[in-house]
Symmetry: D3
Subunit: 341 residues, 6 copies
């Protein structure tokens, strides 16, 4: 069973360890981006995963492709054009100091995607699942158009469609109305995914009132999800990632999955020494897709999604470099972190 994702992959430039940008004259240089992260995670877990995007037709675009292919991603449908790769600069926070992202992704090769660049019918051939996030339509108007065309085509071809809302306020600056674009995409989705803010800011679905205590208002989230499922009748499932952020290093992480009339709540993981939390949401999406395809059991699919993304917090870079079997071991209850030898 194969999954296609569509979005932007960027050059990720990170200062070392917990340093501020330029504190040392060096950057860790890797690649990442929401939908690419999903494809890489799935490929490393052994699934077919095709990544659809437009990359610059230069050495950087080629090396990015090599990296994706190395992880097992199907790069046969990538399009190469004159242009630049989007970039994001990343500074890893610590304790009370938040991590910081500076985007330099305007005018990227993908942002300038044109109508004929991707032949969606061909690109989705042989796929059973299509995934996209709310970042792609926020990149540019032509990306929004492409996203809508993509989900329409996927749906028409009988794919399952998952849509990670992933709201990025700073990106929505090209003039479109975020909610109407996002809602248009959501209409074609079978599975919606988001954190507490995404549902409200992307789709206008109110979440629970902020609780003073710290106790997560699960009922409130369930209500929000059910309201969403009613508003988007094609959607079968709505998932919420639940992050309690005690500090930049110390989060508690869990998730909820809501189907009509049923709610599933996952185990909660305290993650007290976060290595890198970027891409955690993407690995949740990857895990959920993996789980729904392989397990036919919503609770287990959710546990797999939360387990995979829990492990992502322990791995530097955007990608969930996790091997088959590691998530199973974790969600089977082994959280002791004892040395394997």
């Amino acid at each position: 069973m194969s999954v296609a994702t569509f979005g932007e992959i960027m050059l990720r430039l990170k200062s070392p360890e917990h340093e501020r940008l330029f504190q040392s004259p060096v950057f860790e240089a890797t690649f990442g981006g929401s939908e690419a992260n999903v494809a890489v995670a799935l490929a490393r877990l052994g699934m077919g995963a095709r990544f659809l995007s437009v990359l610059p037709d230069n050495q950087i675009g080629r090396e990015c492709t090599r990296m994706l292919r190395g992880h097992g991603v199907d790069v046969s449908a990538l399009k190469f054009k004159k242009g630049r790769i989007g970039i994001y600069f990343f500074e890893n926070g610590s304790n009370q100091r938040p991590s910081n992202v500076i985007y330099d992704r305007e005018n990227s090769a993908l942002a300038k995607i044109e109508a004929g660049d991707i032949d969606w019918k061909k690109a989705l051939e042989g796929m059973e699942w299509f995934h996209v996030s709310g970042i792609t339509p926020a990149v540019s108007r032509s990306c929004a158009d492409a996203t809508i065309l993509a989900v329409q085509t996927a749906k028409a071809m009988g794919n399952m469609v998952s849509f990670d809302l992933n709201f990025r306020a700073k990106l929505w600056n090209y003039g479109a109305d975020a909610k109407s674009v996002m809602s248009e995409i959501a209409r074609y989705a079978d599975v919606l995914i988001g954190n507490e803010e995404d549902y409200q800011k992307s789709l206008g679905m109110e979440g629970p009132a902020p609780s003073s205590g710290g106790e997560t208002d699960l009922d409130g989230y369930q209500t929000m999800c059910e309201r969403t499922l009613r508003a988007f009748p094609n959607a079968r499932l709505a998932a919420v990632t639940l992050r309690e952020s005690h500090s930049a290093d110390n989060n508690h992480w869990s998730g909820m999955l809501v189907a009509r009339g049923r709610r599933f709540v996952s185990r909660k993981y305290p993650i007290a020494d976060i290595v890198d939390r970027v891409g955690a949401g993407d690995s949740f999406s990857a895990g959920l897709i993996y789980g729904l395809i392989n397990f036919k059991d919503e609770q287990r699919a959710l546990e797999y999604a939360v387990g995979l993304s829990c492990l992502k917090h322990t791995i530097s870079g955007d990608f969930a470099l996790v091997e088959p079997g590691e998530v199973e071991k974790l969600i089977g209850g082994d959280v002791s972190g004892r040395v394997q030898r």
Copy 2:
């Protein structure tokens, strides 16, 4: 409004990460020193900050100057002479293993400062605030003499004077009586700053009896500060940094500020994954100076001092590499460490 500080800047040689000295054949090589740290922190926050010192007239002294100037520090009054730069070796502790400092600062260019090396009147021209710490007079007798002359001149020129007691027992080995030198300097200070030991060891002011519980004896600290303010009638404010050291990585950090008849206690920050706590006290001083100048509100000034120094714990090196706005955000209550994008 501009601030001058006087003291020693050293070459700081640190083994990587948490390694012991020479575990790898490499040192991180930066610069630091109490009063330079204050100047750098203030300059990065946008204030005028002039650093007064004597540096070796060689490539190392010049590179140190370039680094200070880069951070925005006014280096126009630095004096260059034949000699060496002071050095400290630093090994970052972890858990129950303490961090360790080895000083190699004897016979530095500053230690050998001579009477005419700095023309204090000229050096303090245009300044409104002068700051020094108890490390400078501990470096050598001529440093002690220079410090006293400096605070006298600053006071005479109408500067506010802040004095961070910063007691370093190992340095007081050139024959002077620490308490009498420190008291002489303190006589000119408007603001006194220190941790629990500094008041006693520098000025002979008894602090609270050690509590067995762990509950901080705020009243005891207040009493100590008030006693100090009585003993040094020029001083308007006495500040105390309150560190609870649970392990090398895990401290709780807060502060108290005492004016005659009033006491201010800050929010307390649990810092569970300390990156580098060297220079935290200096950034407290910088934050307090910044706050007292800019806010005219003792409580807010104290919160700013504690917030800035809380952030310092998350940054490697001696300097509080903090941008304007970051402290405000923290003391405004955002301690979640969520990714900024």
Copy 3:
């Protein structure tokens, strides 16, 4: 007083920081192995420590020897032969992701040890204590034979013999019955050391039933140790390391020592930001040997063992790079981790 240890030293190849293997194209390259770790720890504490092993007669074997000699280990009895050095690959875990060891130690120079390679009488000349772990006999049949000969010779020469059970299931694949080999060795030991599993898997001694609560069943461990002392009448002491593994980064660490009719329980250390826990058990052994030799006080010897191995968790690499005095300071009660200057 001098201690000899016998075993394998391997090349240790670790990916940087918390990275997965090959995430960056680089390995930290050091050396380590249970009995070598004991010898290095003892040598750095100022004791005589001779390491007995077979190393490849090439540049790698020579550099390994240089490293051991640098730490103060007596390398005069090492044997060099054509062959390879054993290797282990190491990936440092984080939070819920366990650390991972991949062994590549088959067919090492030591594994192929032959009868005459080490003249045990000569090798143990001048020694008062001999230490070996259960890893050595698991390496190969000839290693098992050599180990038995070694403990017999040591015993005959009047040495104290300590035996760290160190059970490694994956290594016992050359056809021997682990329990019978281990029991044969244990018959010559004065001191037995192990964690909760080792006693059962190596010697068949049942430990306490797993408690659901988390409260350590000290009585159960005591019973297990006493049963062991009865089964091996030459043994005077049985020690247990008690690790509570909350996550890969966060363990609680303590120990118990049982003599006939008496039990000693150590202070427990919460270690919340583990740097590297490999070799902790070895440093416990080293500390226990050090303590038993130097203190004639079982409680203090145990506290020393637990203190030294607590500090090991804060140091990268296999070796406990601890200086004389550091353990004393810790077990004297200073756990604050405050900067030493």
Copy 4:
């Protein structure tokens, strides 16, 4: 005497040593750009040097400013605006493999400069020399307009104007006719600088026919320069850098300076182990400006220019990190490279 330069400073991302891009997941991250390089070289030699540019108003722009200020550059006239910093990726060649630059500088903050962004009168206040290169007008049409306005203003204010032709064919893609823009700027220049191709491609001045032998056709270059001086009657001097490129590592480097009726030829340096040749032309310009201002001796000014840029080849990064006295020592004849101690 103070010099202003106007142009773009970029983030420079270089793969380590001689590696190809992304061979390791890391970039050396520094800053550079033709006119900034001139300013930094002059500032490090002790001259006043002001850099004029537009930088992004974010952390990257601020760190770039800090770096320039550290080197002693006057950053008081920099303009900060919303936008991005230009970037260039750099791969260091070796032997027969050429170095490779990938530009990602479109839509930079400087490229989008607007008419009022720099108040040229104010920006050039207190300056005696203005320098610009042919890269700036190639960045965008508004940059070309700004450059022309800048040289006009500088000339009107009585500045000496130097113009390094620096022809970059790939950049001239926004629709302008390079030769007419370049000629318009050259009309205001007192000193023209270029390599063998620049005169022809920028100004249409034919150089010597390619010699088959390798013997540099000095007469041909002289003729080219004299023809140029006739075409641009305001120009007093025309300089040519003479690079013989035997391989990526091994170049011979010299220069020629032509005044009306006189020609000066420098010593030639064989540079057999080039560390980094990027920025060599810029340091030639800096050295020539330095020499013409300080020596009033064209031969010596030329030797200084060639000497400084010879040393640049030995220094990684864009900047000529050369201390006062080092060039004098070299052009005084000490080329032995013997250790200084």
Copy 5:
């Protein structure tokens, strides 16, 4: 047109820069091996390239596979089995100090290859060319058997077969007679490749008498090749790499190709600052295969082989990380190494 290669890929552990092994506690960790190097070079040049081997079924084998796949190599026919990966340690020489290789490849997963591990018919399906080197049969007797079966199958399936003699005296220690094994393989080859020693030591073909002068005895090499072609009548071409080794850093590099009755001699490249010469012979083979397939012009094929392998000397690691077009540019005559921008 697709090429298959069969052989061993090893973990390559190199000390940094020109350091001796363990001078710093770090290794650069990449992968390489003669036939894998050929496959990677061909894949990066855009050809189909399938690598046939046996790899350990663990994380190391999987990461090795990912790396090969990233470069574009077809890994679908790799076999995974319990075992270890071969390793080689590498120390880069300098000047008069030679580079040094320490092999630790005995008992690797490939060395233990069994008859049925690779289904040769299936593995060679869709291939037009099969390449192997003399290293593979030297690894173990079962490797020799597999190699012979492979060339027989390839030949029977109509593949072109190239055989790089690659004589490694130290590896031929499992009891076989090298010459008879090598001759058996050579009987199936269309193209034979080797350096001056390989022909003699592998096949017993005498080369030219050592010349005292330094002038390469091209006639002598031609004679040797023609004698070889007579002895192996299936062979159509015999190639010789001609390395003049002036020092570890400074070699001259060229090649000769001999067909019956015709000889082709390439341009000679002086390579004065070698970055890494390991794998140069393999990239010669890759270039020759590429050239013979694509150009139908022996002279141009030879120039391509020499050009590609010339560039390999400038790239660290085993692989010729060369992009399409770069060799063409070099053999077109551009050896100046000028910066490309």
Copy 6:
């Protein structure tokens, strides 16, 4: 046969690769010093080598000791006292830019050596050869006194004494007359060693007039040596290192040895890509001592000295990390640098 050396070992802080000091915030941190370098080279070649010095009684002194012991140096006679370690900063030159050393070695533990610190009789027990260089007496007056006492004692105990003149003008600043001190030491030497300047500046022995051509004036050097042997009748041999410095990277290296009435001239090595030439003279001394002890053949001893020091140029750091057999191979004529495998 065992050799003792006496002198200072310093912390060596080097910027990476060819970077200028502080270009990156990192130093390579190793140890070195003329006489320690001799001891390490001899120990690695398998000889007994004892190093005599005074080191600081802190973690840095202990790690320095560990490093020396690791290389096989006998550290049993080192003295530890309160104080600091001498430091030198090192910047590696390139092409026309010379390498640069900044000393920070005043007031080191060795500089403050006192009369009773080393019991020379005991320290030289079991030694047959004593070596010292002209750096030691230049460090301080007490070092000069100690050096004289040392050579007197060594001579009286029947040791061979070698004296490397090693003139460092900048160090002779404590008031002594260099020539008279040096001459006093030279009176006890059997073997004198120096480069072209050392004989003149240390002992007042004129060398050959500087030749304009570049042809080394061997006769002139011979005359200088013979004059020296006449002036110091105890001396049996005078050696000269002959360095032709074409650039920082490219030197030619050879040597001459003069006995009464005989002169020996070595092979000359072109070293075109120097890695690190610091310590080359020391390794010449080590090689000469090794050769004179082991070969009883002045020509071969000289060739060994020149060969070992030739190899030193290819190794970073102060130490000649050369294995037994490597020099023999080189002086046997293998200068090709071909890969050893």
